[in-house]
Symmetry: C2
Subunit: 672 residues, 2 copies
């Protein structure tokens, strides 16, 4: 069907959808950079979605019971920005659209969470949106199970392109969603047959419909440029049979650009003034750039108010709740603390001091969770098929699955990346504090989503056990060496490596108190003694502190984290026995140490001392503490790893790689 016929078939729809297309063309042209093809191709689908199906109220972007709309194909950001502007989200002004991709604007090249209301999650790295949406849908089911459909009755809609579906993370996501029968998750596939390099067939011949069905999805389809057909398909999608739904939307990328539509030329660069003018003519759109006629804008604004009544109904239902339930619901969706964390942690620390447990910090973490999970109903745990190794499951948490949406522990499967993205979605949805486990070395698999936690500034908690060669026989593929360094190199990420049960409790307190940064908890496989001698203040919150003081003014400062603090404490005994006053610092979190004032660090690390750091990983990341912040005449050494590990029992590995009290003491002596 040609454009003229489309226009005549439904002029109002045509004008609404064309508003999106011209804004996308114009903004990309003005920025001289961006992706017009996708918004132009998916404008019809998005228009029908927002006009007839998506539950939202533009005047209340954060209304809890709204449908979530996630643009997994984040390069098509102008589609989202145009929709937010047209429907009347306050922050998304026409000025912002005109400043697309410019410094200080909220209209970044890819949608950035926190830049504007209505951006539910950051997308752009392909596949992240669809994988994060699984977390939204999980959280929604769990909240509904807890608070009822009257308070939680929404859906998650996703637009995904071929790029999203080719990324491996998409398989993890769809298999998880299919297994969990997340029937309110609806993915609209922008099936345009084009990728950057050219036709999809250059690299893919997957029958996506069959692939989704194989993973337990229902598949519908529509002509992505026929409003009535789209409407039929989206109506059917809402009528779930219990499975998540893929809607195969057959579209033309760059729809309406005679020269570029249906080609990769429409994907990632401006169409050019001439082609934009020609395309406007094809559209029958004779308005100047960035101009949306009042009547069309008015229709769009009306769409933006469509959900007001539903929202009022929801408000009334919330108001009608018993006070206790209403307060708890309000607390949960706001993410506020119930005040029970601090006392629970304090009590556990006191017990720990009395008990003198020698346990692996992964086990210590389980002991902490046994205390806080019952106190914090928002805790939502899981593991990527290493439950017994990560010690992430506590007795009170039921299993979240198709039969039991009230469960608070989920088997994510062998899907580290999918788990990380799903946890981001659970956090972003609201109502829960997700944590999930795998081995620290498999940070490598999850990094794409872990970086987004940091970039979005959300407090997802990664429980990363088996955090060094101390895992022993599994060998170098499983032994993290560089992973502490790479997590520390990542902006806005807290890397917590506790040395005993008390520090582990403190680490959990820090991670759960965080509102704007994810935490990576690095936990040992091997048992570690209780080293802390006091349980009062959360000393870990300073990032580093004196674990053992020197017998006199220190000549040597030993620094260590996690399982190596014990080694440093034992090295101190050797040095003190040799008459060398030696202080031991535990450094559970470098990022928090950086936040302290310089004076605190100077009290920990006085000048004219020998400094030796001990960590069973690479040195990178330690030099700022070893060398002094402005350089100094400090003599410094590092005892750790400078290559990959090996397969052998852990004590043997520590000995062979020279991470021992003797080696630490010798290193210090050599520097004196």
């Amino acid at each position: 069907m040609d454009l003229q016929a489309r226009r005549n078939a439904d002029p109002q729809h045509w004008n609404l959808a064309t508003s999106i297309r011209v804004l996308a063309m114009d903004a990309v042209q003005a920025a001289n950079s961006g992706h017009p093809g996708m918004p132009m191709g998916m404008a019809d689908v998005a228009t029908v979605l927002f006009r007839n199906h998506l539950k939202f109220d533009a005047s209340a972007p954060n209304w809890f019971d709204r449908d979530r709309f996630i643009l997994s194909a984040g390069h098509g950001s102008m589609l989202l920005y145009a929709l937010l502007y047209l429907t009347g989200y306050e922050q998304m002004t026409l000025e912002q659209i005109k400043n697309f991709r410019q410094w200080g604007s909220i209209t970044a090249g890819h949608p950035e969470y926190g830049h504007a209301e209505g951006i539910e999650t950051t997308t752009g790295p392909l596949g992240q949106g669809i994988a994060t949406s699984v977390g939204f849908a999980i959280a929604e089911e769990a909240m509904r199970a807890e608070f009822g459909e009257a308070l939680c009755d929404h859906r998650t809609w996703v637009i995904a392109g071929d790029g999203c579906l080719m990324e491996g993370i998409s398989q993890e996501a769809i298999a998880l969603a299919g297994a969990q029968k997340l029937g309110r998750l609806i993915v609209l596939w922008d099936n345009n047959d084009i990728t950057i390099d050219g036709a999809v067939s250059l690299s893919d011949r997957t029958d996506q419909r069959a692939r989704f069905e194989a993973s337990g999805w229902r598949v519908l389809s529509c002509d992505g440029h026929d409003a009535a057909d789209i409407d039929r398909a989206l109506s059917a999608a809402k009528d779930s049979d219990g499975r998540p739904t893929l809607v195969d939307c057959k579209t033309v990328i760059g729809y309406g650009s005679e020269k570029k539509q249906g080609t990769s030329g429409a994907h990632g660069s401006p169409l050019g003034d001439e082609e934009i003018a020609a395309t406007r003519r094809h559209y029958g759109w004779d308005h100047a750039e960035f101009i949306i006629p009042d009547d069309i804008l008015s229709d769009w604004r009306e769409i933006g108010r469509r959900g007001a009544e539903a929202r009022q109904g929801w408000n009334d239902r919330v108001d009608g709740l018993e006070a206790d339930k209403r307060d708890e619901f309000a607390r949960r969706i706001s993410g506020e603390s119930n005040g029970k964390l601090g006392p629970a942690i304090a009590a556990l620390k006191e017990q720990a001091l009395a008990g003198q447990h020698k346990v692996a910090t992964r086990k210590a973490s389980e002991m902490v969770l046994e205390v806080i999970n019952p106190a914090l109903p928002e805790m939502f745990g899981g593991s990527a098929d290493l439950t017994g190794s990560n010690n992430t499951k506590t007795a009170d948490l039921g299993i979240f699955d198709v039969q039991n949406r009230a469960g608070r522990y989920i088997h994510y499967g062998i899907r580290e990346h999918g788990m990380a993205a799903a946890m981001n979605g659970i956090f972003l949805h609201g109502g829960f504090r997700p944590y999930g486990g795998t081995f620290l070395t498999f940070t490598d698999y999850a990094r794409g989503a872990m970086r987004l936690s940091a970039l979005m500034g959300i407090a997802t908690i990664y429980v990363m056990t088996h955090d060094s060669i101390g895992l022993g026989e599994d060998g170098p593929t499983h032994q993290p060496i560089e992973h502490l360094a790479l997590c520390r190199a990542t902006p806005n990420t807290m890397v917590l490596r506790p040395c005993d049960l008390i520090e582990t409790a403190e680490a959990w307190e820090i991670a759960l108190d965080s509102e704007d940064a994810p935490s990576v908890m690095a936990l040992s496989r091997q048992n570690l003694p209780l080293l802390r001698e006091e349980a009062g203040e959360n000393l870990s919150a300073k990032g580093a502190y004196v674990m053992r003081e020197a017998s006199a003014a220190p000549k040597v400062i030993l620094m260590a984290t996690g399982s190596e603090v014990e080694i440093a404490v034992n090295a101190r005994e050797i040095l003190e026995a040799a008459g060398i006053p030696t202080r031991v610092l535990s450094v559970p979190c470098m990022e928090l140490l950086r936040e302290q004032d310089a004076a605190y660090r100077e009290t920990l690390l006085p000048a004219d001392t020998v400094r030796v750091a001990v960590e069973a990983g690479v040195r990178q990341g330690w030099d700022w503490l070893l060398m002094g912040e402005r350089g100094s005449d400090t003599r410094a050494g590092f005892v750790g790893m400078d290559g990959f590990g090996a397969s052998a029992p852990a004590p043997k590995l520590y000995e062979e790689f020279g991470i021992t009290p003797d080696a630490v003491a010798e290193t210090a002596k050599a520097l004196l």
Copy 2:
């Protein structure tokens, strides 16, 4: 069918397979750690494969035309070690089996490439084996196209478990293999319904058969404990219809252990002496631990010699080649240089000096490839759907696809992780030098396989463009900040960040001269001037060198990489104009600088100088150069990033984030 009936049905097969099972049980028990369940479950399939189908000669493990056998489920390493021992691979002695998972043994917890012949690739991180195998199969097709079936006529066999198939990378791998119709790739799926957490159904309800078919695979099946049925399926698998083949092998994990078979209890820990004794009885196997009776071992050794005749035939065919072709074939499969790289690079550098090109280093990289790809027929390029952005395709390379196996450029699709693993496989197969491109930030997606390149010590080349905020408007999701640091933190990885065309040529020379470490080439999107003033020696090979000398004894040393060297050179002008003698070092490769002797570094970085490093990334990784190796009184500064980037034109970003000549000069002045 019970064990007795199995045994009676084919006693010889039973004894062969049981040899594997008991060795696995015994070795895991002796190590008190490991995974007996998988070898016990897949012993029948592996026995039939090695006995009747796999083309190999245990006396010549590196015979080029052997079938490749890849144990993707690497935790089942004892299956592989047992097979290598039983069939008579010289290195794999019984002593090594007894020392499973011990220090210094070649029998690591997971199979480690380079530890023993017969280990084709390192596996353990799930999904890597199946994804690497796609590279083996690609290289095989390409070599066959070039040298003919008489010289290259083998297959790639893979054993993969549910863990491999749940990892996202598996989807990237199977979709790529399906699209490329890699008909000689056969995956044997250990379909045992069990993962670590319990039943597969806890987290997955995927119809794997339908999923593989959707990606263009043929699916066969067999009873994984019925030798005749396995044989039938493997025979059928070899009779390819052009598609890759999945063989669904229904198995029982821990087969024969009455207490643990069919449960996750058989997966990852020793069965215990009592259960081992009981299982031996069930097997009807009354030999002591680690003892394989002579007659059975003799049968196995005969299997190990089965391929000798085929190998002799191949040797004869190679000997019968014309000398030129034989020499080139021998060179290619040995990985030797043809001597053309150095002269090609030298000529290009001279031209560059004359031409004074101002080009992005990604474009410079293309200019280098235009010269070396025609000279080095082993070059095999590709990109994860960013061909035009990564500048990885040169005119002479045809496209490798179903119609043209002689092509040397492959569209990997939007599959960074799958690409990296496939490149590892192409390298390991032999015959080609793979390189492939994506954006540097998507290191995050590919890290699992990139780490294996480093761990295996193979020289895969990663062409990572858009290497900083200099990519501009795409914004923080696409701007690498921590990625140089994390690549540098990874052991045995060369991170090359050239500053102009001449350094880019030198970087390619270094990467291609490397035999035992992967290279990460970090290349700019934005144009950069030619800074080098001489083209003779490969100065980049020293890791760092003086790019601009100070006008007198230097008071300030500026250090920079890539696009920031220009900034440092301009900052030097400001400082020199202010009467401050300033030296500029280019640091294209820190790892190579570390390999120089300390005296060289001291000549570059004399004491009592102010040092300022400039890099549009995090500081982490720079302190060893800023502070001095043993600490010093050097005053040091860093001009770079300490948080995520933003969406705006690149020059604006450099200005706003303060990475400018003025800022560098001011930093230096403040330290003087």
